[in-house]
Assembly symmetry: C3
Homo-oligomer: 422 residues x 3
């Protein structure tokens, strides 16, 4: 039944679905929308795509299919690599590079209205938007699959897939890796999805961020409660690498961290998201505390892997590029193969044992409205869009609520939970 | 001779022209550039395209052809549905989503100069521009077909085709329908072309607009003189629906309107075009007078059809979406099939008995310069572009002149007409 | 061996390379990156492409290949004609029409970083950027061919190829032509590459520019020293055409210019690059001194050819268009064929005897860093990009240095040259 349609001569992973592929009726907004098996399926798919690309020549898997990219924020890697992936697969692309200005959003159209229209023009929608939870809104109302290209400070799941794929490819596996997440961990959406991904695959996480830029509390607590992942935190990269006793928050007596703390397998750097800073907060000084210079890198592990979702600004010196541990350009180069696999899987033109074609139960399915409660996150889509109403899912703690869009945790007013929900 | 090349198994409407299709050497700037038979030909074509789309798979009708979209104003539906149509037909697309900033217009190039260059790069040009009559300028100088995607406050003919197609599809036919045009009828280009289309196909029109936003006098008079269509006017939607006696301008003794005025078959809503308002005019209050709420809709006819060209802002409540009479998202969904038919017809890759491939006599062909007369419309392209000179055609009234570009009527100075023309 | 794969039935110029084409590993940033034989090869290729276009139908030469256009400045002709060329060749396009705003450049990414990423998404990069020498930076770090679509005030080599192709097509050959370069010769990049091209092919050059807009000294000196081309200069076009004795800088005793100076074969006009003027310099007045009106054109040679890279602003009257000598729209129309030939050659899908597929020794290969010397050109990429360090090549004069990026000449401090270089 499973034919070697891609002709890779390897164990058949992909086979064209009977008849033409149909959209799989599911979306990718959070890395948690995929199971671990599905993440693996994407990686196996990416390997196949990469070997097809090396052999050159056009593929026709997506002939007749249309990808629409709708970007409300600047992008180089995400938009162009998705579009490149679709072209390599033989499909067509509708592109909007600056939807904030050149789409009907400029005339006041809501996300829901735009998406309910655009879904008739394409078979797959990749969207980036500046509001947290915005791409969840799109996924909820679209009849075609929606893949998030990043939503505000919330998540960036396809970047995380590229990150994990890079670690798996260059380090063999993600499990057991010790990863330092450095930089603006508060506003950087890539590290939020990556932290979940790392925790789920059994990596250890150390966070390095100056005061004001630490991982949001709701992310840290969710890592602990849902995935049993306890993170260690430093405020300066040199202290994290050197393991200095003066490092604040260092819990030196903790049994989990008996080995030398400078033994990072992966240094994952991110820039200060200056476009998301509240007015008055200066980004320049902050970056100094986690800047990776060639000198500092000398103190790191011999076979450490330096990653960065890019663009970098001043937290990663240009002369680090020449160090063999610099992996960030390879990381970017894997984007096309990973996104080819995603595109083919979500369009349903290939299938994989690990990837469920039907819709999965989503948080939003079980989400409810709660009397008198609105999200506390200023950037949440539920506060800005007139046609989105606050919805919540129960968080792990008793009485806790999590916004169904931006996933920030909200404490409901002190009343019985029964009377709040409706 | 007429082969069933599309394989629809129905009465053959389209057949590929002998040899490869050649541009039909005509353009679509006003809905009045098409005869009623040609509008019907587009609709039959759209039906065929829709059935082809449902059967899935790529079409190759436009293989090797290039569509160029040149948009000087924001767009979601028009640009993306045209581009989607071209991709579905197997052609390629050159796209400029923000030509005001990223084309040579930013350096001061005129429309004529830009079009005379772009015509060498594509086979069909779809253009949107902020000046009234601008797309007529493009059509005049291009050797490839030009289709307007909207020009200032003048017209938006392909939207009108989608609107009429929706009414025909959901109501059986346009003739005899009673349509309420509501909202900003002054600056909204879609209602201008729609009013002509409705009048020509024998619909009845009621206009609902607050003071300052009524249908321009030259449109109203042309409807009457050229198509014998007398419109009734209200300033508030609730009054129009309720048929209150207090409604201003209501001519209750008029034989034409003996039936209950709340019997609207179609409620066509439009937003306030706030980007076209003179400074100081506030849009928010105006919209209240024609806002369609769910409560108000309860009073309307059971099988009324609510349409809107979208985007909506605050004149159409979001909870109306759940009413079965809400037809605006279906209206948007028909855009691809209608624009596939238009693209195929104007590229000449299909032909239809009803659609004349050769150039039709155009207003502009017979237009003349008139000594000392310039257009009185501030937004007219003839006042802004240094290489466009005012031209006019005789309007119906003796001595009347109509601008050949924006079609606003101008009264010439009181002299003999003979000495004015040259 | 050389098959008539394009089926033009003429002496075979192109033949598909064995196996699939591979990028030729060279770039086009300056017209001086091509030898005269290679320029001729592009022209022969353009002739073939034009005849293929006339016969209609899609070509498949670039099927499966991807062109990425990355434009940091507005463009109509260059971007759209390259994209059209790629579509006509059967390839796909990734487009960024406003990279300054909608790419990661908006977040502070350097050119090098962007290019090192984008090279993984496409097979050929066409880039326009506002900094002088920027496209050289891209070409240096990319593993795919980079073609400049214009870099600041430096050069615009593909425009020059179109210009020379037009002269060759309409005048038979470039050698011996007398060309007047008029307008903003200081900030206009097209005239800089064109002047080199004309000099190398043996044309005579007269420059017409008002004070403050003359050809930069380093270009004028290089023309003389490297190509033996002495230019004559006027400050007003009417004087140049009329040959008035009052013309400043006129060297009337010069043996080279004994014939009547009004005998221009080509009048090449350019607009004032007002976006590059230092604040306070007014462009309007300047343009008057080289404005070509129909009246002035009457005094020019009967078979003169008027060219302009377009867009024009106010230096070329619109009524000149009707004169048979107006060649600028034909000039623009040749852009697709010329860029099809360039695309096919640089992607390596065709080959030509005259065009070397391998990398050529480049200035930058031999460039060196010089202690304490930085470029003196405020617009040079080496002063703005944190990851570009100043590099120089020896200029003709003893001790002279030329910036490896913007090619402006720099005088090193008065010390021995040996101790400067490192």
């Amino acid at each position: 039944m499973a034919e070697d349609l891609l002709g890779t001569g390897r164990e058949v992973f992909f086979c064209r679905r009977p008849g033409r592929g149909v959209g799989v009726r599911r979306s990718l907004v959070s890395i948690n929308d995929l199971t671990n098996e599905e993440v693996e399926a994407v990686f196996v798919g990416a390997d196949e795509m990469a070997s097809l690309l090396r052999r050159g020549g056009p593929l026709d898997l997506c002939r007749g299919k249309i990808l629409c990219t709708l970007f409300y924020e600047p992008s180089t890697r995400t938009r162009l690599s998705f579009e490149s992936a679709m072209h390599r697969l033989g499909g067509a692309v509708l592109s909007t590079e600056n939807a904030r200005v050149s789409s009907s959003a400029a005339k006041g159209e809501t996300i829901r209205d735009s998406v309910r229209v655009v879904q008739h023009y394409a078979d797959l929608l990749v969207m980036r938007h500046y509001l947290d939870g915005s791409t969840r809104v799109a996924a909820e109302c679209a009849r075609i699959p929606v893949i998030s290209g990043g939503d505000g400070t919330h998540e960036h799941p396809t970047q995380t897939l590229c990150d994990l794929y890079t670690m798996r490819k260059e380090k063999g596996k993600v499990q057991g890796l010790h990863v330092a997440l450095c930089g603006d961990l508060r506003y950087g959406r890539t590290v939020h999805s990556l932290a979940y991904g790392l925790a789920r695959f059994g990596a250890r996480i150390t966070c390095v961020a100056p005061p004001g830029f630490q991982l949001p509390a709701h992310v840290r607590e969710r890592l602990l409660r849902e995935y049993g992942c306890r993170i260690r935190e430093f405020s300066r990269l040199d202290e994290a690498i050197a393991g200095e006793a003066s490092a604040p928050r260092r819990r030196s007596g903790d049994g989990l961290y008996q080995d030398l703390i400078e033994q990072f397998d992966v240094l994952y750097l991110t820039r200060v998201q200056k476009e998301r800073l509240p007015r008055g907060e200066g980004p320049a000084l902050a970056a100094e505390s986690f800047r990776l210079s060639r000198a500092l890198l000398r103190k790191a592990q011999e076979d450490a892997l330096v990653l960065h979702p890019l663009p970098r600004v001043n937290e990663l010196d240009y002369d680090v590029d020449e160090d063999k541990r610099a992996g960030y350009f390879r990381q970017a180069s894997y984007g096309v193969a990973v996104r080819m696999a995603l595109t083919a899987l979500f369009l349903g033109v290939v299938r994989s044992g690990g990837f469920a074609p039907g819709p999965r139960p989503r948080l939003s399915v079980r989400s409810v409205r709660v009397r008198g409660v609105r999200c506390i996150n200023d950037r949440c889509v539920s506060l800005s869009e007139p046609d989105v109403r606050p919805r919540f899912v129960p968080a792990a703690e008793a009485g806790g609520l999590r916004c169904a869009y931006c996933e920030v945790e909200v404490r409901p007013p002190t009343r019985g939970r029964g009377e709040l929900f409706r």
